[in-house]
Symmetry: C2
Subunit: 204 residues, 2 copies
């Protein structure tokens, strides 16, 4: 049965252009059906390592196609996209920790920070692999830069992210974006249409 | 520039449920924009071997998700789907050769045979890995069973399929379904929406 009050779980890796596309639209989509979204950063590297998978852009043939598909998908969705930042894929640990740290204090601000990090990566082409880039985004949002920097280094936050990644894997999230709506999994920005119908109909 | 008279190239493997979904809808979609479809069976095994990839359903986590996603995608698209046949994935050489043989003689009949093989696999759960199953479908369509059987064994047809697979790989087709519209590649049944807009707009 559909629990129309339960939030939509949104797993994403900051080093994921399709995760960025989803991040731009999921709150509005969910809101149309009275749902909130629980933003949960994860680390795809852990999933890939566990399953012997490699990053999309590094896969023969599929990698080249995906680099083209990203631009077309952005145009199709009407979203700004400048391409992949350098380095790519990048370590998104600092970004994920910052969002987890902030989520316990101000969930709305955590979501804004996540969106700002994504846009910095995929619209402005900035390097978000290091704490500096993440802290710049936090400062732009009026957050206390030193407090966020300390949060990224906090052992409790490190543990929180590690647990979050394990939870994501246990929930079946092997890619980004990955959504869970009332127990139903949806992988990919190209499953947002099915996710929408799921919300409309309560399952189909 | 868009050449509105050029056929849409449709690469597919018979051992692909998403290829089946696409096969059910692509002719109608293309027809809405005055296009024909060039049905080109291929063998994903050759691509996987070349690139060190493995079949979708065998990939950890993603395999389990895909088995669920196939059923939901079928419901979303309003298509009959009974699940994966046994064995799966299956060798689709006989099916592909039969379609190539027939394509040179009666392209419309070749398309009908391709659809019948797909439905036998994914609606009726029949084994299409051996010539017998393929010949049964051909006979159902009123084709000469012995002639099709001989066609499957014809060296020229074997060569034609081998060349077709090489051509597909050279064109970048690493999965099924894979479409090329005026040089633009689209991979997956979930890119049919983008393909439609491409036809509508002449590229976006």
């Amino acid at each position: 049965m559909s629990d129309a009050t339960a939030p939509i779980r949104f797993y994403f890796d900051f080093s994921s252009p399709y995760g960025y596309f989803a991040a731009e639209v999921i709150d509005t989509l969910a809101g149309e059906y009275g749902r909130r979204v629980d933003w949960c950063p994860m680390l795809l590297g852990a999933v890939f390592k566990k399953n012997g998978m490699q990053p999309l852009v590094d896969i023969p043939m599929k990698g080249d196609y995906s680099r083209h598909d990203m631009f077309r998908s952005a145009r199709y969705l009407g979203l700004p996209f400048s391409g992949l930042p350098t380095p790519f894929p990048f370590a998104s640990v600092a970004a994920a920790r910052a969002v987890y740290w902030l989520k316990d204090r101000d969930e709305s601000a955590a979501r804004d920070l996540a969106k700002a990090i994504y846009r910095a990566s995929f619209v402005d082409g900035l390097d978000m692999s290091q704490p500096e880039g993440v802290l710049d985004r936090a400062a732009d949002l009026g957050l206390d830069r030193d407090a966020v920097a300390a949060g990224i280094q906090d052992q409790a936050v490190k543990d929180r992210l590690r647990d979050g990644v394990e939870e994501a894997i246990a929930a079946g999230a092997f890619g980004s974006p990955f959504f869970i709506v009332d127990g139903e999994p949806f992988w990919g920005a190209d499953r947002l249409d099915q996710l929408r119908r799921w919300l409309q109909t309560g399952g189909f």
